[in-house]
Amino acid sequence: MTEQPIVLEAKGITKNFPGVLANDQVDFDLRKGEIHALLGENGAGKTTLMNILYGLYKPDSGEIKVNGQPVVIHSPKDSIEAGIGMVHQHFMLVPVFTVAENIMLGDETTRYGVLDQKAVVRRVKELSKQYSLEIDPNAIVGQLPVGVQQRVEIIKALYRNAQILILDEPTAVLTPQEADDLFVIMRELTRRGVSIIFITHKLKEVLAIADRITVMRAGRVVGTVDPKDTNEQKLAAMMVGREVILKVEKKPAQPGKQVLEVEGLSVHDWRGLETVRGVTFQVRAGEILGIAGVQGNGQTELVETLTGLRPSAGGKIRFSGQDMTGKSPRLLTETGMAHIPEDRQRHGLVLSYPVADNLVLNTYYKQPFGVRGIMQPAAIDANARKLIQDFDIRTPSPYVNVGKLSGGNQQKVIVARELSHEINLLIANQPTRGLDVGSIEYIHQEIVAMRDRGLGVLLVSAELDEIMALSDRIAVMYRGQIVVTVDANKVTREQLGLWMAGAHPEE
């Protein structure tokens, strides 16, 4: 590729949040028509840098140039005017509006004070033809699949004549096939002269699509590399700052008897819609059953029902040989179920309680922590110190509020609590979401160790890599049903991706 002119340049960007130096003298540039990946772990400062470029934050110091000209960006409006468009990780779309209404919002065309819907629809159709982005301008956004909503976001930026596109973790919500579609779109856009900043923490994707890769760690730029000269291992080391074991080492499973049997289970969500529809599966001791699926296909409700948090609408749950349908979380815990919840901050921890108290949330009422309704500080303290040591929880003291810890250490508190009593089944829902590579490595090893100790493990994850790496068997969930259950070593990534997108397994 010939050297193209630089369209966007950020120099010496520094941004201080109370207590955190989110960006420290960051330099970054983008050439015309390239895909420049910005790689880094959560909290490395990628999103802060992009929010500065998009005018959502003001930098403490530093300079931004667009097409060689210095620009002052105080608000998204300035940034839009400079030709910068951003597709946020959480879409900035109004679900009840149509595609056309979402696209024109803030930049409306009117005739005699009345919104000119027709003109917008015409323009959207033009753009979708020009960039091969198929879209129905009159569809209600909330009813569209996530991949299509993302397309709306891209058109929204193009509608404002964006020549620089920032994509913030765009593949986090997509199926592998949708991600591939997105890559095709990204290539098409760059061919037409749009320049793209691609923010992600997924190593495979960066190597597949980027022209250049810049890695950030702890608010600083570690380096910029060419994808041809690097590999996953090297990139991971740059991100984390040390060598990381990406591959989970595990021996073949030695499954024993069934610990969890689910038969024809149906569950309604809060709106009364049937989100889990007649699901049947078993988990045996000493194996990991992975449930793959794009988020929002009923996994959340399924896990909530299995752990006693949500009533079932039909079907049976047998756990440890007893019928446990509709039993309370406490009874399930006492029978030996451990649960790593999806949202650790809301359902896993009491953020304003100290670490020590969070470590006894499931046992506080029993000896030795509670005696006749009175808490025993000495026993709780001893327990906390032991678990902090055993699970390597990095906290200044057992009495720091758990909300103050990093995501990885919060997750370790949950793991420590859940695994420290007598258990025979672990239900882990998105156990590594939002964690850094180092913590992911630790949690993965811990889950495999649990399996080898003879526990049944039910792993629910939207990360296909995680499912592939850990599971012995894989069940794919789509629209509330398990469409297929297969042996993990007899299936490919692509095949799983197709099933996750709703393809029917052919026997």
């Binding site: 998204p76 900035m92 509006f97 919002l105 803030g106």
Partner: protein, 373 residues
């Protein structure tokens, strides 16, 4: 509006009208009773319709407003006070006094809504608390000033409530003439003429009532056809999305709450300048809350809220007509002579509607949530 709620509204209105026709048939012809019920329904629905519109503008932009009752009460008092000052102290005649009264009613309500906007948009106070503050403040301020100005010895009006400048005049809407013209063109049957006579006067109403109907149409247009409406709804559904597109969320919310204040002010003026020429403490009597029920049942749309207001209006019209027909109520209907029983109807309807058994409605997604950058 979905069919479930539409048929509920139609059913209740038909039911209420039928009761009155049956009860009153000894004294009047059904056509006349229906026409008078219609006119009364339109009249008494006015503060509810305007109150609901006030709520719609606030909540569509994401600010819950349970202070409409208080804004209405404030407007009722200050509008009336201004009219009296104009009339008795400054010696203006009735009409200019009433017009100034209406303007002051709106102004006082807008000031109350400004207070609500400052509390809930700028200081991000819990919006239910903000609304409650306004409701309590309104009862206190109007009650206190009412006593101080009119009933304390040595006060401005020295214990004599002055003669009020009356109420706003009825505007003649030439519906009757129109119907008669059509009757002539189509042959002029006697039935047609009877209809024209009976229903021709239904729309002869006082100005605030007519304004309320026009404002329903105007509000619908603004909310769903204009740039302002699109941005207002966006701010109430997903403020961050609006913010990333360069829309000033705070400003949109402020202005919509103030528009809500204008509507509530007009609703307040209805009580003391259009309905009756006097003020009583706490005279809004929960109408601001029934307006909120109408807004919810109408799914935060102007026409839906208007239809719901008409149901409540019909319930109140029932009560009024029961007093008119008090002496001719047939023996088996004596329960309707008890004004307390009949007077409960609007409140019972409110409860039925808010249980959600007649179709659930969906508020704007960011309703009640302060926006943090």
């Amino acid at each position: 509006m979905d069919w479930k709620r539409f048929s509920f509204i139609t059913l209740v209105i038909v039911l209420l009208f039928t009761v009155v026709v049956l009860v009153g048939s000894a004294a009047q012809k059904p056509v006349v009773i229906i026409a008078s019920m219609l006119a009364t329904t339109l009249t008494v629905a006015t503060p509810l319709t305007l109150g609901a519109l006030s709520g719609i503008f606030c909540e569509r932009s994401g600010v819950v407003n349970i202070g409409i009752e208080g804004m209405m009460l404030t407007a009722a008092f200050f509008g009336w006070l201004a009219a009296i000052y104009m009339n008795s102290i400054f010696g203006f005649s009735s009409m200019p006094s009433l017009i100034v009264g209406v303007l002051f009613a709106i102004l006082s309500s807008v000031l109350m809504s400004l207070l609500h906007a400052v509390l809930s948009v700028t200081f991000k106070v819990d919006q239910i608390i903000g609304g409650t503050v306004i409701n309590i403040l309104a009862v206190g301020v109007t009650g206190f000033l009412n006593r101080q100005l009119f009933f304390e010895k040595g006060s401005v009006f020295g214990g004599n409530v002055p003669h009020a400048p009356g109420t706003l005049p009825i505007i003649h809407v030439p519906v009757q003439e129109g119907v008669e013209a059509i009757c002539k063109l189509t042959g002029g049957t006697e039935g047609c003429q009877t209809l024209a006579n009976a229903f021709g006067k239904v729309f002869d109403q006082q100005p605030i009532t007519i304004a309320a109907i026009l404002l329903v149409i105007l509000s619908h247009f603004i909310l769903f056809k204009t740039r302002w409406g699109l941005r207002t709804r966006a701010v109430g559904e997903h403020p961050r999305a609006a913010d990333t597109l360069g829309i000033n969320v705070q400003r949109m919310r402020y202005l919509n709450v103030l528009i809500g204040g204008v509507m509530a002010g007009l609703a307040g003026a209805y009580f003391t300048l259009e309905s009756v020429p006097s003020f009583e403490p706490v005279m809004t009597n929960g109408r601001g809350f029934i307006a909120l029920a109408a807004m919810i049942f109408g799914n935060w749309t102007p026409f839906g809220a208007w239809a719901a207001s008409l149901v409540f209006g019909a319930a109140q019209a029932l009560q009024i007509n029961m007093q008119v027909f008090r002496d001719v109520i047939p023996a088996q209907w004596t329960i309707l002579q008890n004004s307390y029983v009949v007077g409960l109807t609007p409140y019972i309807l409110t409860m039925i509607i808010l249980t959600g058994i007649i179709g659930k409605t969906i508020p704007p997604a960011a309703d009640g949530q302060p926006y943090e950058k």
